[in-house]
Symmetry: C2
């Protein structure tokens, strides 16, 4: 019996091998297409995952672990032969405890489902990537996802208390637990967060939850120049923490005309939330809006749930709405995801726009400006080699602008296969190649046969450097 | 030339070798006494640290890195021959930027000095161990320190954006930077936090800072039974996040009679802070106090700065004040530092008290109850072998009670040499020994010659397992 036959003995019909059923597993939300997997495996329990990994280890079968498939960097597609492990069957919410401020879930739970569940308890789990409808807990942990609430609440790494993990050889380990703190050896939980499936398979997550803010007010501000928008957010951050602070350029705004209209002269907009107890909301909103007014053409605010939601969903849906602005069928979207210190935003944004125009690409700019995170959604015609060269040049230019401003080539999407070169350039620029070597050594330590999400973060042969 | 002579060529008088000058470096704040170091080295820059480590690596000289010396587990004392590297000369606050919500400091900065500095900007760095007067940034990162503000703000790991680190062989690496988020390979910053000096020497820290809460109200509540106190805090946590939630038993209260008086029948007290904008403070305070009233003999609250400070300092000074209750000169304090999920507090506390009485030891119980963290300050006569056996039995009993309630043997003090056995028992109980092996392998990867804080977390020979 071979690997797949052995897995079938305990997974039965949850081993998919029909070609037409495998096709959907060749892609994530990026423009990359992976190899056709030999099979897709759908474990229903940690024990299933253990048995799969024991066999994968024995037969040296590469596996890719996949959640909702919303990765934007090719991190959940196969880069060679092997199988896909889909975690979508493991989608139970196991327990919630408000005293402990902890919810225990399986990795296949979708973030929006978790949000709805916790909403019933007046609580929430802050990480909120725009893809939350399809993104899973496991996938968002694997990329250290951020999202719209990052400016106030930090990112995934700040909200994971513990993880159960199946290692490459099938051993189940427990990293952390449901306590709110611990200092008992190295923080293995943290090492897993953002490791993009390269160190182990998450089978259970202990997440910290938080009471929902009592009230929110949403402010829209429209700007003539990128400098004005950057300065406004910088000044707001000097005085207070907004609940949310998002940025959209004109292309982004034009992709959602039904949700946001803007005054003449607008080239950029900010969406800024003030939050607080009912008695304080007005003052908080006025404080933020008065700063915005100093730089903006116009501001507009609301506390109406429906209107707030319309704006929120428009911002969250930008990836899809910008996709509708494609000029032809061959165009895909390549996404830049850089981060800089907030004080560096005005100059960074100006340089990125200049590089975009210089490189001759069409790209929308938007992002989580409150924590210094800018996305560039670049229109890319994969069939046009020369155009793709320009796109890649802009991706590299944008990344290095971020690095030169003290930032990083990836804020919240991870490296996947898309940003491997960018990561190397960041390390090289900072005279920090040893850090990359250490990462590769850790990969080799956890996964000596290099079977877990091979090719993610590092090139294919990366596991064997140390 | 030997190691010390070579170091003297660039450190000059900052190499201490006179015996009487070395003695203060044999201890930390625990009851352990370490070996007399061959020398104490006081680097003034990252470059100094690099040169020291290059030589230590070449000569295979074990080093212990020491901050303020406030470790409670023997983690900054020498367990064999070697030298101490004191980081106290590297105590510059390099930069602060409110837009970026980041302060950049050298590791030798004392936490109270940082607090005073940031106070001038209306900001603070939340980790707040009781030893903040002497504890340094580097030391508190190395133990993932928590403290009094943990219930609202989390622990050190939530507030470190990046670290410059000198590795065992003298290479300077940069883990993270001053951006608020990043997803670019493994989170090496997080791996350093809580590693107790075993993986590298921190030479610079990029810390996240936060605006100070506008207003605080402090509530004292006195309870007859531990069950009442535990239930009160559990119920508060179900509804809101207090700014602080501290617990003291009667022995602790009796050590600070000038600061806190209590009504008849009191066996336990809680100190709970409500915080918020000025308009909301009263409502928040009332909400918390009304829950406390349901379980307490009496409650008392204040917003007077002086009175609040008196109570705060009494709580913060418990280690010293309890020390004054020693019955004889031979008595030291051994400190338990367990953590459990908040919902497990009532039963955990009862079992700990029962174990204490059963084991026949005298111990004060207090701690950061809001995040489930209980300290036991145990009176221990080091000269009385039989008494010490009882103390050690209680330490183990308390640790295992925590583990059985889903908790951990160390919440915020780290493992050091004191809790190495407890860590093993925690791992064994959870069928999680592989995690300990992984930690040892990481240690070996970073420090193949086992020269960095040898004997911390793991036994002496631990570095060479993998």
């Amino acid at each position: 019996m071979g690997f797949i036959e052995e897995v079938r003995t305990f997974l039965g019909d949850y081993v998919i091998t029909r070609k037409e059923d495998l096709i959907p597993y060749m892609n994530d939300a990026s423009y990359f297409t992976g190899e056709m997997p030999d099979a897709v495996l759908l474990p229903g329990s940690a024990e299933d995952v253990q048995r799969i990994m024991r066999l994968a280890y024995k037969y040296e079968v590469p596996v890719v672990v996949k959640g909702g498939g919303s990765s934007l960097t090719g991190s959940s597609i196969l880069k060679g032969h092997g199988v896909v492990i889909s975690m979508l069957r493991m989608n139970r919410i196991i327990d919630v405890n408000l005293n402990d401020k902890c919810v225990i879930v399986e990795p296949g739970v979708r973030l929006d489902d978790l949000e709805r569940f916790l909403d019933g308890y007046g609580h929430f789990y802050p990480p909120d990537p725009a893809s939350s409808r399809s993104a899973t807990v496991g996938g968002s942990i694997s990329t250290n996802a951020g999202g719209l609430r990052g400016v106030a609440y930090g990112v995934t790494k700040d909200w994971v208390l513990g993880l159960d993990v199946v290692l490459a050889d099938g051993t189940l380990v427990k990293f952390g637990n449901r306590t709110l703190k611990r200092s008992a050896g190295y923080d293995m939980t943290a090492l897993m967060i953002g490791s993009e499936g390269t160190l182990g398979v998450i089978t259970k997550a202990y997440l910290k939850i938080w009471p929902k803010p009592e009230r929110i007010a949403r402010i829209l501000a429209f700007f003539r120049t990128i400098d004005d928008a950057g300065k406004a957010i910088s000044e707001i951050k000097e005085h207070t923490i907004p609940e949310m602070a998002e940025f959209m350029d004109k292309i982004s705004l034009d992709s959602v005309p039904e949700a946001i209209t803007y005054p003449d002269g607008t080239n950029y907009a900010l969406i800024v939330d003030a939050s607080g107890p009912v008695e304080t909301l007005q003052r908080r909103k006025d404080q933020i809006e008065s700063i915005l007014k100093r730089y903006a053409i116009e501001t507009w605010s609301t506390t109406d749930e429906k209107e707030m939601n319309r704006i929120y969903l428009a911002r969250k849906g930008l990836y899809a709405s910008i996709l509708r602005l494609r000029k032809n069928e061959n165009e895909y979207i390549v996404i830049g995801d850089i981060v800089v210190p907030v004080s560096e935003l005005p100059s960074t944004l100006k340089e990125i726009e200049k590089a975009r125009d210089g490189d001759g690409v069409r790209s929308a700019l938007f992002g989580h400006i409150g924590d210094g995170n800018i996305h560039a959604n670049i229109f890319a015609d994969l069939s046009d080699e020369e155009a793709m060269a320009r796109v890649n040049r802009f991706m590299m230019d944008m990344a290095m602008i971020a690095v030169k401003h003290g930032g990083s080539v990836s804020a919240e999407h991870g490296i996947g296969i898309e940003k491997r070169k960018l990561l190397i350039e960041e390390m090289r620029y900072n005279d920090n190649m040893r850090t990359l070597d250490l990462m590769k050594s850790i990969k080799h330590l956890f996964d000596p046969k290099n079977i877990l999400n091979r090719g993610n973060i590092f090139e294919q042969d990366a596991g064997s450097d140390s």
